[in-house]
Amino acid sequence: MSDKKPISSVNDFVVRFANVNGSGSASANEMFARSILRHGVPVSPRNIFPSNIQGLPTWYEVRVTEDGHLGARGGVDLMVAMNPQTWDKDVAGIEPGGYLFYDSTKPMPSTKFRDDITVIGVPLTAITNSTYTDPRQRQLFKNIIYLGSLSALLDMDPKLIEQLIGEQYKGKEKLLSSNVHALHLGRDWALQNLKCPIGLRVKKSDKVGDRIFIEGNSAAALGAVYGGATVCAWYPITPSSSVAEAFTAHCKKYRHDPATGKANYAIVQGEDELASIGMVIGAGWNGARAFTATSGPGISLMTEFIGLSYFAEIPAVIMNIQRAGPSTGMPTRTQQCDIIACAYASHGDTKHVLLFPEDPAEAFEFAAASFDLAERLQTTIFLMLDLDIGMNHRLSRPLKWDDARQYDRGKVMTAEMLEEGRDFGRYLDVDGDGIPYRTYPGTHPTKGSYFTRGTSRDRYARYSEEGPVYADNMQRLVRKFETAQDLVPRPLQANAERPTKYGVIYFGSTSPAMDEAIGLLEARGHQLDRLRIRAFPFHSSVASFLAEHDFVYVVEQNRDGQLRQLIVNENGIDPVRLVPILHYDGSPITARFIAKAIGDHQDHLKVTPLRKAVS
């Protein structure tokens, strides 16, 4: 029997479902998360899935968090162990005092359990088989039956789950009633045979507010719709495919000419990543807002074209949903590991604009803004998401749009401007901001045409290999990049309660874990000022932040501290003052990890005088 007191917690615990990929568990597990949301309690769910269609282990983790912590917490309080392949690892991962929920149809030897956890057995297979004869039904309804049992064990309101099932199967009465029936099969068995509720409970609250529950990829795709993207060329790759798929779905719904029913968009699944970015660049050259979505290996393939976009100055948007590399790496695991590859993509001296959204709301905002930036700056803009934001549902601020907003089409010289006699030099820096005017093909019968090429040319787009002409062009590109600093989203700073000489820099999907880690660090007595970087090139406030602090931790999800490298490279700062805090096992970074890594370092700093005294 348990020698550890069972965990007791209301609205603050982690449930992990261990399933077999392809067993149809995903919708039941997601319904579990959504049903907790309907109780008014925030959740932070994460898919942990293999690079495989069927048969391999998959997990779905739901962090129930009344405090609204949206990062991964680490540890499991209740394991729903439905996969014999991973049983031992799953049981081992339960926090002391936690709970194990399993299918007790077949007896298990006592050695398969732990003494310090509470074991809850429900004969799921037996219940399922006594009710259903069809093998597929048996597989699917078993998931709903365990959802029903969990609702009883966690004291959840079954009406809220029924409501969700009703929404999901609206108009499909047969499916609706059979799912509700399965839910109650599991719930009733638990109520009649188990002690309900257990120590973990869901209690109605009001902490969700008006927030929405959406995946980052879907939000980014909506941003592309609102931002006016008309051409999307893409090639399937995990974890980015759902961006293009969502863009397609949104366009089909919202982007047809009301009079003719024709599409105000063109979406092409390219034959590969090279063709996809080629189409984006062709469309951008011709004045359409175009984008592609890809991941690290796709970026590798696209780099030649990215260099062309930089040098020939053609607008393009690339949404990079990062996964663990290098090479094929771990295709279904998250990392922030393409920072350097994107910032300096392609041969020669290149620099590219990167945007780092922290959540779906910013994925939407930044995606929409990326098209303005691409046309204003006439270059490639990278929207740097990662699997953790892209493929997981997150609670997010509602998406917002200002109807007065017009698209910034950048410096485009029209036929009228050419007729007025305006001097058109394709690479002429008219305004001193490094950004030249361009013309769209077909603008004027005799003026404004030019030849676009990746080879060197003068300010009037005339081929030239003269050294000073080349250098002049390259210097202007540097000026343009400097201009970009003030156009991209600025970093956001939050200071500690007390003045401190320590700071922390972070970005992207690390954000929720970082927010939570600050609280944990304060509890250990550590005060840190925070700077969330939202774009590259770095705004001048990044240099100011570095100057104001003795040590700055740079928290990121890759092995080599890529953002730190970029900061050192671009700011010329002494690397010793930037302390890398690196998480790169493919799982989302947690508050516990950050707090421990920074806390341990801070503790070390505090004992330094003692060490000196000893020596």
Partner: protein
């Protein structure tokens, strides 16, 4: 590419087309290719075809990859936008440009190195997508800019300038284009302007993927004995299946050839292709027949030229995608953005 712009003055008495443009209005910069290069003859044919069709030069977008052939867009239609992209990737850039603005005429110029090697995939996929374009391969079977290596269209057994025999099989881009569903497929010879000019004109008028493979001898590296892409070899082995006249709607159809030797093909845009048949059995509407005909003659060492296949009812990529008639690059927020009220509904559906 050239440093040298052509002088703009010209004789006031130059003949003008229906738009009032002279031949000179369709020219570009002075070619820097080798004297006698077949590619310059193709450039001249493109200029002639565009002049004859009375195309507004600035309504053409000319796109190429990298290589000798890909330099040539600089040498014609000086008032149109050109794009010298990256090696072998012209088709994707052209496809994207076409998606952005369906109203322009898209002329893709490529080479055998460009299209049959690094760009083989992009060539194939742009054809199967039915992009409305005229895709011209200036095919000399050799890498000229890097001085004489075999390309993938070099025939097996043919010899390089250094005397090396090619042991690899050749890729026949025309055969591939036919197989992939191109709706206008032709082959010609840079030294046969009378055949090439109307083929280019017809390809431009054709709606859908038009492909023309033009054998274009490289005077520097592939015009010797043993080459199957030399001027002499092609002249000796050329078997033209037909000759073409392009008759746009405004002109009366005045065919002055003997009955039974002319076949008129009417296209969607009203233009008519008058085919003067040299080979009595040749039917340019039969894709399978064209493929067989091509292979039979290739086995005999003959280079079949002319319009090999045309589908006058072809559709293009925009029709497949059902896109609006207005060029996508002209649409603004009032058309493209669903607005805040729709966003509020989307938000509500996500709770």
């Amino acid at each position: 590419m050239t440093y040298i712009a052509k002088p703009k003055f010209h004789h006031p008495g130059l003949k003008k087309n229906e738009l009032g443009y002279t031949h000179r209005d369709y020219e570009g910069k002075i070619s820097t290719l080798c004297a006698g290069c077949g590619h310059d003859s193709i450039t001249a044919s493109i200029i002639e075809a565009c002049y004859e069709l009375s195309i507004e030069p600035h309504r053409v977008a000319k796109i190429s990859g990298i290589g000798c052939s890909s330099k040539t867009p600089d040498y014609f239609l000086g008032n149109s936008h050109g794009f010298n992209s990256v090696h072998g990737r012209m088709p994707s850039v052209l496809t994207g440009a076409n998606l952005a603005n369906r109203d322009l005429i898209y002329l893709g110029v490529s080479g055998d190195g460009d299209s049959a090697s690094i760009g083989f995939g992009q060539f194939a996929h742009s054809i199967r997508r039915a992009v409305n374009m005229t895709y011209i391969v200036e095919n000399n079977g050799v890498y000229g800019l890097t001085k004489g290596q075999f390309s993938a269209t070099a025939d097996r057994g043919s010899k390089s300038k250094k005397g090396v025999t090619n042991t690899d099989n050749a890729i026949d881009l025309v055969a591939i284009a036919l197989q992939l569903g191109a709706t206008f497929v032709a082959r010609s010879f840079s030294g046969d302007k009378s055949q090439l000019v109307p083929l280019i004109a017809a390809a431009i008028r054709h709606k859908g993927a038009s492909f023309i493979d033009v054998v274009s001898p490289c005077i520097a590296f592939n015009n010797h004995a043993g080459s199957t892409k030399s001027f002499d070899y092609v002249r000796e082995h050329n078997d033209a299946v037909n000759r073409l006249d392009v008759l746009v709607g405004r002109d009366p159809i005045a065919v002055d050839y003997a009955p039974g030797t002319v076949q008129v093909v009417e296209q969607h845009d009203g233009s008519r292709l008058a085919l003067r048949k040299l080979d009595a059995d040749y039917d340019p509407h039969d894709r399978l027949g064209a493929m067989t005909f091509l292979q039979k003659h290739a086995a005999k060492g003959q280079i079949v030229t002319g319009l090999l296949y045309v589908d006058p009812d072809a559709e293009d990529l925009h029709e497949h995608l059902n896109t609006v008639e207005a060029p996508l690059n002209t649409l603004e927020a009032d058309t493209l953005c669903p607005g805040s009220a729709v966003l509020d509904k989307i938000n509500a559906s996500l709770r």
